[in-house]
Structure formats: C-alpha cells, structure tokens
C-alpha cells in the first residue's frame, strides 16, 4: 500500500463531496446547516426533569459570517468532503417558538407537560448582502410532544421534526442518528438508580423526496374535458422506523462534577413500496420495493464538568438506509434496487477543557458502496476528515483558538488522465474570539475573527467545475467576521 493510500485510509477519508453534499442537502435545506447540539455530556438531571418553565419560549440558533478571500472575492466554503471544518460555513439561522404547558396528571406521575415546537430556518442570501427581499426558508420543526402521562419518564411526540442525537460539533455533523421526518414517537426514560439512567425511544416517520424515485405527477385529461390536470402517478414515501436505547452510567453519586459513560445502541429500518413511474423514455417501468437497515452505536465518556467528553460513533447501513433519510438513491443495481448499497462510518468527537486551555476534536471516516455492484463506480468512495482545535482563554471573555484539519476523498474511479480520483486538503485557521458567556468551548454567543488558510491538491481542484476559481487555485484564504449563537435551541 502506497504512502498516499495509507494516509488516505488512516485518516478515514472519503465520499464524493458532491454526493455527500447532496446527501446533506437532502437532510437539510440547501445551503443550510442544522444547529449544533448542546454539549453531548449529560447531567444527572437529564432523565425526566423539565428544564424550562411554562409558557411561551423563544429560542434560536444562528451563525452569520462576512468574509473575504483576500483576492477581492467573497469567502466561501471550501470543504471537499461532506463534513469538514465549520469555520467557513455560510450564514444560517433558526428561530424556534415553543408553547409549554403543564397539566395535572391523573396517573400519579406528577405534572403532565406539553410542548408545541415551531422552528423556522433561514438560509442566505441576506438582505444586507444583496438588497433583495429574499431568503430561503424551511420549517425544520413543527410538532408537539407530551411528557409524564403513564409514567414520569414517558414522552410522546407527533409532527414534523429533526430527530437526532449527538453531533461532532467541529464538523457540523450528526454521525449516528439524524432523521428529518414527519411522524411520531415515544420515549421511556428510566431513572433506575442514582448511578444509572436508561431510556428507550421508538419513532416512525415518513419522508418523500420530490424525485421520480418516489414521487411523480403527470398531466392527465381533465374530467371537465377541457385541458389537463396533474395527477399523482407515483407516490411511495419512505417509511423509517428508528429505535434507540441509551444508558448512562455515572461513576459516583452526589453533587458536583459527576463523570460517567454513555452507551447508545441505535437502529433504523427503511422501507418503500413498489411503484410504477414513467421514465425519461416515456415508458412505464416498475420500481421494486426497497428496504434498508442501519445499526450503530455510540460510546461516550463525560467528565460532568466543563463540557469535557469524548464520543465514538460507529454505524453501518445497507440498502435504502445507506443513502441517508432524504437522499434520492442513485447508481442502482440493474434491477433498479438499492439492495447492495453499503455505508460504514466511524466518527469521533471530543472536548477537553482545563483552566484556560481547551481542545476540541472531531473526525470521521465514511466508506460508501453504491448499489450498482460496479467496482469502478464514481459513487463508490471513501472520505473523511480530522479537525483539531486548541483553545486558549485569555481571561473569562476573550480567547484565541487555532484549528488544523485534513480532509481527503477517494473514489473507485480514475480521472480521464489516468490518475486515481483522489483529493485532499489541509486547512489551518486562527480565530481570536470574544465569549460574553465566559469560558467554554460551547459557550455562546461566540464572536470571532476567522482566518483560514487552505491548501488543496490537484485532485481537490479537479472536484470543481473547470471555470470555478477553486479549480484553478491551490491555496485559499478566508478572512472574516463570524458570530454564532444558540439558546433554547431545537436540539433536545
């Protein structure tokens, strides 16, 4: 194995950024990025304890960046894999409105509460950039949940929502469970002992991309006899069933910092019915039913103080599930199924803080094999990235962070010049920042001046269209002002 291949593999590189981006784009509205999770360490009050007061609540996640490429152009995201550094992510924000009520319980479980959650997301362009009254918007949450019926640890929800677990903050990535679906679910949390907390959650939902793989309308003669009307000729939503079990083990009792471990087992089952569509050749063709499965797990350690944690994620998906919840499968098998698609993913997320020093770490490796069975498919790839961000706080409200990252991609195809389709990129950033909320990797708001230098190799340049400036430049600068905040955010 060549050094290049070792580097590629050991850094867990991979996926066609384009494909992965497409997948991500399906999971979230184009150009938007979901908010980061709260710190992924739990506390002892995690299970079953209401955390907000009754009434109306406003929450928000947001980031706004104004940046230059120091060559007279705008600063622009330059990752070549699906999940690289978040330093140059574009502007995105959410406003979250919640109505919370508490009701008397007849089950002896104490209060029963309900929440109605509405999250509206905005992506660019901003009016102050373009002077135009326009923005891309999406409803990211629209659901209600209730807690405390039957048992104080019981909860149920119905609606449309983001449904996900812990993230890798530095990559803006939810590596294990990240569903966007319309459906419902239940969760049972058992605060079994003061050292253990266990919960089980089950959810089921539907999703239907506006793509001829799952949905198609065709004009049909109108019943009135005049003109035509569109009728739905293909409608086969994807049904996703998810099951998640989580167990927290605390190393000690009492108050103060309580370290512990977090274990998560997670699974998804995806299915779609058969259907008939009219293909591009204007021929009716049958689409066979589809299934897929995903299994994964998470192992985490949390120190119980200052957001210190480490999480390791592993996931393997087959068939329909290998494409993610919203991506329209491509490169199908000759019988037009996703059956032989595979995805394997490992990810790491960690944060360490001590005194005025902090260290954030994030990385992932993803191997994807499309369903075509073609060993040379461009849609068969490995990709990954590793990001390290050391932080020094100079007092309570000021700090300096640096970030180094490496990302790489390799597909089973070769380029037209005979060279392997591989790409890699080194990125280094410096970000002096202000944290009004005090020290901490996750204290927000976070005001920063960001400088990011990127060095892309020839393969990385070739991942862009020939006329794209990124296709011609080996080095990239990104200098900008950035702010990020979250409070009462939709992550729960």
């Amino acid at each position: 194995m060549s050094a290049g291949r070792i580097a590629l593999a050991s850094l867990a590189v991979c996926l066609s950024a384009a494909t992965a981006r497409a997948a991500d784009a399906e999971a979230t509205p184009p150009g938007t990025t979901p908010p980061p999770s709260a710190p992924s360490y739990p506390t002892k009050s995690y299970a079953g304890t209401p955390t907000t007061s009754e009434g109306f609540s406003f929450g928000s996640y947001g980031r706004v960046t104004a940046a230059s490429d120091l060559r007279g152009g705008s600063g622009r995201e330059a990752n070549i894999v699906a999940f690289g550094t978040r330093l140059d992510l574009p502007t995105y924000s959410e406003i979250q409105l919640e109505r919370r009520d508490r009701w008397p319980s007849t089950y002896g479980t104490g209060a029963v509460s309900t929440n109605v959650v509405f999250t509206l997301a905005f992506a660019g362009p901003l009016f102050h950039e373009t002077g135009r009254f326009e923005a891309r918007t999406a409803v990211r949450n629209l659901y209600a949940d209730t807690r405390g019926i039957f048992h104080k640890g019981f909860s149920a929800w119905i609606g449309s929502r983001m449904y996900r677990g812990d993230d890798v903050y530095l990559l803006n990535f939810w590596p294990l469970d990240n569903l966007n679906m319309v459906g419902g679910g239940v969760k049972m949390a058992f605060d079994t002992t003061s050292e253990e907390a266990t919960s089980v959650a089950l959810a089921v939902g539907l999703g239907r991309a506006a793509d001829p793989f799952s949905f198609q309308t065709r004009p049909s003669p109108s019943p009135s006899g005049f003109g035509s009307t569109d009728v739905i000729t293909l409608d086969r939503p994807r049904t996703i069933l998810s099951l998640k079990g989580q167990h927290l083990h605390f190393f000690k009792r009492g108050s103060g910092a309580i370290p512990g471990l977090k274990f998560v087992l997670y699974g998804e089952q995806h299915s779609m019915g058969r259907g008939i569509r009219v293909n591009e050749s204007n021929v009716r063709e049958e689409l066979p039913s589809e299934t897929g499965a995903l299994v994964g797990g998470q192992l985490g350690f949390f120190a119980g103080e200052r957001d210190v944690f480490i999480n390791l994620f592993l996931r393997h998906a087959t068939g329909l599930a290998a494409y993610g919840d919203k991506t329209v499968p491509s490169a199908l098998s000759p019988d037009k199924t996703t059956a032989s698609a595979r995805e394997t993913l490992v990810a790491l997320s960690a944060n360490y803080e001590k005194g005025s020093f902090g260290l954030l770490l994030g990385g992932y490796f993803r191997g994807f094999r499309d369903a075509s069975g073609n060993p040379y498919s461009r849609n068969t790839f490995n990709e990954g990235s590793l990001v390290v961000r050391p932080i020094v706080w100079l007092g309570e409200h000021v700090g300096l962070a640096a970030e180094g990252s490496y990302q790489a991609f390799g597909s089973a195809a070769v380029r037209d010049d005979g060279k392997p389709e591989r790409a890699s990129m080194w990125r280094f950033g410096v970000l002096p920042f202000l944290t009004p909320a005090g020290r901490g990797s996750f204290t927000r708001p976070h005001f920063s001046l960001v400088y990011l230098y990127s060095s892309r190799d020839a393969g990385a340049r070739l991942r862009y269209a020939p006329d794209d400036k990124f296709a011609r430049r080996s080095n990239e600068h990104f200098l900008g002002l950035s702010v990020e905040w979250w409070f009462n955010s939709s992550y729960r």
Binding site: R5, F251, N282, L312, L314, V346, N374, V414
Partner: protein, 612 residues
Amino acid sequence: MAMSKMSKKMKTALFALSAAALAMSCVDVTHEETTSFKPAGHVAEWKDEVLYQVLVDRFADADQSNNYRVNKSHPARYHGGDWRGLEDRLDYIAALGVTALWISPIVRNVETDAGIDSYHGYWTQDPYLLNPHFGNLNELRSLVKKAHARNIKIVLDIVTNHMGQLFYYDINQNGRPDESVEGGIKTKGDKTVHITEYDPDYETPVVQSFTSLGNAGPAPIFFINDPTINRMPPQTPAAAILGKPEGYHRRGRIVNYDQPPDGDEQTMFGDFPGGLKDIATENPEVVKVMIDAYGRWIELADLDGFRIDTVKHVDHEFWQKWSAGIRAKAKSLGKNKFLLFGEVFDGRDKLVGSYTYNNELDGLFDFPQYFQVFRDVFISGGATKKIEARWLERKTNWSAEPPANGIGVAPVDMHVNFLDNHDVGRFLYQASVSGRAADAKAVLHNALAFMLMEDGIPCIYYGTEQDFAGGNDPANREDLWVSGYKTSGETFRRISRLNKIRKAVPAIRRGEMAFTWTTDHVGDEPDAGIIAFERKTADGSYALVIINTNKSHPSTTEAMGAAMKVSIPNGQELVDVLPDAGGQKVTVSGGTVKITIPPTSAVVLLPAGARI
C-alpha cells in the same frame, strides 16, 4: 475505583476507534486498473482477427448512474449502453467467435444538436476527456482488461477530420447564431439555398458574410459556450487550438462530394454535414494535438488499434505525419502491431487505395467491395466475375508494401471486409428492399460465408447476428438488448460456425486466395452465380470455398463440359464443414472438382479428416 473503571473503558473506546480506523483502511476503493495499469502488446497477427463493431450506447446498459438524458424511445437519443454493459456481455461476444471489438468513440461530445444526441460519439468536443455516458476510465480499462483476458482486442473509433458543432458563422454579423439568415435565401447557380449560420454551404476561401448593404468579407466565427449541452470549446488546455478559428477551415458544409476538382476540395476542406466543423489538419499544432490526444488513449486504455473516421476528408500529409506519430507512441508502449485502418466512404478504389501509400494507413474498409460485391452480386444477383475484378482492382490500387513501423502486413492484404455498418442500412434491409424479402436471410448467410472465408479482416456489425434489419441511420442502430442476447438463432450460429472454421484453418486466416471459378452467367446457365476460391498456405493448410449467389436454381462448378480446376492432388476427398454435422463430400478428380450447390448457399470444403 470509578476512575480506574473509566480509564479502562476509555482505553476500550480508544482501542475501538483504532480498530475501526484500521478496518476502514482495509476498505480500499482502488483497483489494479487504477494503480498498476500497464499497456502492452496483445496482437500476434491481425490477419487472424475478426472484428465486431459495437455502438456502445446500443449494446448493453449495465450502469444506470450514467443514464443522463437517456430516452430509449427516440432512435436518435442516448439509450444508456455503456462500457460496463459491454464487459458484462463478453461471453456473448466470445460465443460469436469474433476476436476484436471496434468500439464507438469514447471522447467527450457535444450532447445534442438539432434534436439529435451524440450517442454515436462522433461529435467530439474535447479529445482529451471521456464521454461520461459510457463510464469512467476504470470502467473502460476494466473492459479492455477483461477482453484481453479472453484474447479479444480493442479497436477504438476516432475522428480527426472534424469536431462537433462548436461554433457558428456570423454571416449577417449580428452577434448571434441564426437558423435563417435575414434575407437568407440566395441563389447558387440554378438552386435556391437556405442559409443557416450553423451549417452554411461551402464557400472559398472561407464562408463570407453579407449584410443588407452587400458582401461584408469573411464571416467571423463564434464559439458557442453552452455548458448545459457541453457545446463549447475544449476545456483541456492542450487542445486549445481546437477552440480557435485557426484550428478550422471555416468553409461551410460540403455540398459536392463527387465532382472533382471542386468535389475533392470540398470533401477535404468543408464541414461535415450537420455542422460538424472541419479541422485544419494541415496546421502543425493540430497534428500535434491529434497525435497527443489519441496517443494518450492508447496508453491510458491499452488499446490495440484505431478505426479512423472520414479518412478521405483529411489530407494525405496529415495521415503521413499522424500515423508516424501514433505508431511511435504505440511502439514506446510495447505495441508493435498497433492497427490503423480507416473509413474512406467511397466506391472509387483508386481514391480508397491512395491512403495506403507513403506509410499512411495499415488498411481500409473495403467500400468498393461493399458496393461491387455485396450489393451488386450477393444482393442484386450480379455476375460473380465482378468479384474477381474487384480483387484485381484492389491489387492495382492498394499498396503492397507494409507501412514503416506498421503491423507488418501489406495494406492490399489488410482490407477490412464488411456487409454493413452504422452508416448504411443493414444488410437484411438492403437485401429486402433491393431483392426478395423472402431470400434476404439466405442472402445474408451467403454473404457472411464469403466475407468470413475470403482474404482480409472481416468486420461484423453488432446485431447482424440477431437478424436486425434496420434501414439507414438511425434505424440501423437498434438496441441489442431487445434480442435478449440469444445465441440460438440461425444467424448467430452461422457466424459462430464460420468463425470456428476460420479459427481452425490457418489457410482461411492467412493463406493465399485464388479464384477457381467466377462467371458472367446470371441466368439459367448451370454455373450461374458460382464463385469459388481456394485458400492455402505453404505448409499445407487448405480450404476450398464455393458459393452459389444465384437465388433461383442450383449451380455447378462446371461450364461447357469443363469442371473447376483446383490445385490439390487427385483423389483428395473434400468435406463441407459448414454444417455442424458435416455436409457434402467431393473427391478431386482430373485436377478438378465438380459440385452442385443449392441456390443461395455455400460450402466450405476441407480435406477429409479435418476437425472443426
């Protein structure tokens, strides 16, 4: 205690991460085709080969991910075939007995023009890039590698004469392409012609512009820049000359192919119909690009030869320089027998043969034979003397000297024989419309027998084996998958059998060919329609092929009491090996062979005891 437990679990977690990373490192997506692909020579003797022409888009669709703009209902759109599909069907190809695949062009094309798509591959946009409709380089390499593993060679179709419709002539100088130039009906001689800025008629020295005030000098040309259909100058810097006016002749469309001297000039300098822009092949920079671009594919894809399109539209000097450059490149890769043969779509043998001199090409399609033998004799029932005449004509007009650094065979022996191809109606179609439809299949079988037993390299157009009978382009470019790739059909078995005989008998592949019977008779005469020839080698391999092209009655190798003389000794028993179980037997007597052949049928006689 708790912390020590934690520490243990942390170690476990870290170990798991390391193990996972290690496991992932084993999930390697690279392949030998990527990392250690090395071209080499694969051809021992081209005269042993049987070509099979494949239009990749219509052969087999194995990868749906490259089915961009596919419309299988429309005969002139992409239908989805790809290199992987071809690879998946190598068993089928091998069963047919062919030994070399001529695959349609692989380079990036203009996607579409005037409602027709570039599924055929002849509308080059960038000769350095692959056409993604057919796959990526690894898939092409994999096809080549798997084919070579079966001793099947790969010949690539290339075009150096023209590019796709990359620019328009701004005849009225209004800065935009007009389908119809304002006031654009003008008279040329006694003809009224329509002027379009995409494909105007031929003019010298270049297409002229005119406005309402009169002639306005040379029409400026503008390259179209429409990436949505890939209609733009080449993006590879090395091909920059093909994105500049000086890379083209800019004389407009050929309207006279036939009448020299004007016709020859137009043929050489005019745009190919459909607005395919004629390249200035006398430009040294163009020559360099064409050597570099196509030489590069030899190396990248381990090719064994080129089938060259529109040869007669390019100047001889180009072929001399280009062939030398390509041969040198091939030799540097260990390919000492890299085949260069081309298409001179013309019945004039002198013109066709002219490209075999001065070390130009190794061989050519035998278009004169297509017209004079297969059309006039086999289909139309002409005299078989014409076949012999065709033979003599070729010997007169084609070079008998092997080209320097070529494949080691004289071009006169490297005529590529064919019944039909993608540019003409299929043989069955022609036989049906020009002859009797009921006879068409038997005529096809007869013609196949001649083509596969005669001297030269036979070339079978895909679908012939499935009795495809499409008319002219695009009707002759059917999807092979509709046949179900059956190998049990009569024609498939006929071709397979003939190839088996060809493979087993050195005389048929490499031997001398001598006519033993041809005739002017086409009526009721006993020998009407008989064509017979011997194939033999110095070391004793021998075959006697006798074909009756007459559709009405059995014919005999005898006329006016004189039987057909042969060169093998008296007493030698000959057996027809064309039927699987063996056919007629005949013994040489008095230095002659007398045998009666049913109408529209053939025998391949080998010395008794020969096993096929």
